[in-house]
């Protein structure tokens, strides 16, 4: 029997075949706002080309953790972070980091689709233009490539200059995914990306993630245990501000080591 006290120092060590490059290494991460500590003592290593699911009850610190990785918490009043997040040998939690470049490399997809008030085409190009990633002559190709990657090209190729707000919710979320992919991120953070979508759209988003996982590392916060099980290679279980348990998804669901994990994945909590 393992001890029941919080034992947060767990590492994902399983390595997918053919790849072992470390993308993100988090050591002893503590994050909080004002006098409240939200998460503490999180350690993990993320390997390139994997899908990692973050599960846990509401308020367990999943989203706070996720938003620390691309420093989206910076603006929040009283935010502080301790420990270290290393992205490709570069410390993320440092004043010297180029925030704009960090966010290009570590993209984000949100709970609800959030297209910008510009045409569908300009939405895809928004990040590309902001970072000056391509010449104007390449824009058409970039728009087409990325819309094809998310399977949206056929649906919108005839109305690239229309407003994105006339698309369905699922299509809008795919457009946002295309927008994120267009800046060629290495890591994509997804904060409950399908919680506002219908089952058919959920399926297409999930399929896309699986297809793209070879190039991009995905970290997905989800409240759907079934989804975590379907799409992720690794699962991390957050509980009460601690990374309670992490490991290969099958292991977390079939053979959880911690009682809280067992309780949660069996559907008796949350």
């Amino acid at each position: 029997m393992q001890d029941l006290a919080p034992r947060p120092v767990e590492e994902i060590s399983a390595t997918p075949p053919g790849s072992s490059r470390t993308v993100i290494k988090v050591s002893d991460l503590t994050v909080g706002f004002g006098r409240t500590t939200i998460i503490s003592g999180v350690n993990l290593t993320l390997i390139q080309g994997s899908i990692v699911a973050l599960i846990g009850p509401t308020g367990s610190g999943k989203t706070t953790f996720l938003r620390s990785l691309n420093r989206m918490n910076d603006k929040v009043r009283g935010y502080f972070a301790g420990g270290s997040i290393v992205l490709d040998e570069q410390e993320v939690l440092s004043d010297h980091v180029d925030l704009l470049e960090l966010r290009r490399r570590v993209g984000m997809l949100f709970q609800r689709p959030n297209p910008f008030p510009m045409s569908i085409r300009d939405n895809v190009l928004a990040g590309v233009k902001a970072h000056g990633l391509a010449k104007k002559s390449e824009h058409d190709r970039i728009v087409r490539d990325n819309l094809e990657r998310v399977g949206l090209w056929n649906a919108v190729s005839g109305r690239l200059h229309d407003s994105p707000f006339r698309l369905s919710g699922g299509q809008q979320q795919l457009l946002c995914l295309a927008r994120s992919l267009a800046v060629q991120p290495e890591v994509l953070l997804l904060d409950e990306p399908t919680s506002a979508l219908d089952p058919i759209s959920v399926e297409s988003v999930e399929k896309l993630l699986a297809d793209l996982a070879a190039e991009i590392t995905f970290i997905v916060v989800t409240h759907s245990l079934a989804q975590a099980r379907r799409i992720s290679d690794h699962t991390m279980f957050f509980f009460d501000g601690h990374l309670k348990e992490s490991g290969p998804t099958a292991q977390i669901f079939e053979d959880p080591q911690q009682p809280e994990t067992q309780y949660y994945v069996s559907g008796r909590m949350g």
Partner: protein
């Protein structure tokens, strides 16, 4: 019996259709709402009707010349009144409103050029950068600014700001402006502080609270998720503002701007005090004394009442009609602009 039954089942059953009654009985609520919805329309029609009726003799006498030349000559009251086009008028009376139309439009445009960036900047700072406590304090301040009577602005302009600008600022600007298109307008004689630019500045101070407080409310409505999406994509704060925040509320900003413009076009007292009140001449540079339609009406009404034939007063009514027309045109222009802007992007339908 059996055939009876069969026939019964064969008979097509008329489906029962339910249609809710759309008419509600006539009651006090309905009457009250009908009256209150028609009242503004009636008021507008009444004003317009009376104005047209008053102005009609002047329209007949002044003709199209009213819009194209710059004389403001009530005529010679010592000579016998004459009748032209069936209108009795003082001899040699001649009115042309071109200069005051130009003055009205120009001073309002100057005000807008100053006020729009200032208001948007203030609204952005207040709604996006400041904490809630400072935000509320500044909001109260903006509303206080909006409540200052225009005569106070006028007094401030004519006693303080006008002399200050014409002594310390205008001469330097006039001296260093290059002699090229548009900027040429900033060269030349700077006057004593009453004029086009001073009026524009005073008007700007009066419409900034209108545009700023409306814009602040608009910016607060931009979804946080959309702005965060832009930030998470690695856009700078400036890019988030210009590419996402401003376009999101562009239609509303145009609406707010027109509110401000309408106020500037119709502003009377403050402009009358700082315009220099010259009649019948076009401004030669941006410091020139000039006049607006509204200011002309208020400053010449007294002397117009001396005109025994009534033409002078009727001409002022005609000027008032022109002012309403200018304001109307600004509104129509804004609507067209809103339509153009909002069909491209806005998530919610058209409209201000």
């Amino acid at each position: 019996m059996a055939s009876d039954l069969a026939r019964k089942t064969e008979e097509p059953q008329a489906p029962r259709i339910f249609r809710p009654t759309t008419k509600s009985p006539l009651g006090p609520v309905k009457i009250a709402s009908a009256v209150s919805s028609v009242a503004p329309l009636l008021a507008l029609l009444a004003i317009l009707g009376i104005l047209v009726h008053q102005a009609l003799p002047a329209v007949k006498y002044n003709g199209i010349g009213f819009f194209v030349h710059n004389v403001w000559h009530p005529g010679n009251f010592y000579l016998q009144p004459v009748t032209t086009n069936g209108v009795l008028h003082p001899a040699q009376a001649d009115y042309g409103a071109w200069a005051i139309i130009v003055g009205t439009v120009l001073s309002s445009l100057i005000a807008l050029v100053i006020a729009l960036p200032a208001s948007l900047g203030a609204a952005l700072v207040v709604s996006k950068l400041l904490g809630p406590r400072v935000r509320n304090a500044l909001g109260v301040f903006l509303e206080l600014l909006a409540g200052i009577p225009s005569v106070v602005f006028g007094l401030w302009g004519t006693l303080t700001i006008g002399p200050l600008l014409s002594r310390d600022i205008y001469p330097i600007v006039a001296k260093h402006m290059p002699d090229v298109i548009i900027l040429r307008w900033f060269r030349g004689s700077t006057g004593a502080g009453e004029g086009l630019l001073t009026s524009g500045i005073i008007l700007a101070a009066m419409i900034i609270p209108i545009i700023a407080s409306t814009s602040r409310d608009l910016f607060a409505q931009v979804p946080k998720l959309t702005e965060e999406g832009a930030e998470a994509l690695g856009m700078t704060r400036m890019e988030v503002t210009t590419k996402v925040t401003l376009p999101w509320v562009s239609a509303g900003i145009i609406g707010a701007t027109v509110l401000g413009l309408a106020r500037a076009l119709g502003e009377t007292m403050a402009v009358a005090m700082v315009s220099g009140s010259v009649l019948g001449t076009l401004p030669t540079n941006i410091y020139s004394t000039f006049n607006t339609i509204a200011a002309t009406i208020v400053t010449t009404l007294d002397s117009a009442l001396i005109d025994g034939t009534g033409l002078a007063v009727r001409t002022l009514a005609e000027a008032a009609l022109v002012l309403m027309l200018v304001t109307l045109l600004a509104n129509v222009g804004a609507r067209l602009l809103v339509r153009k802007v909002s069909t491209t992007a806005l998530p919610v339908g058209r409209g201000v």
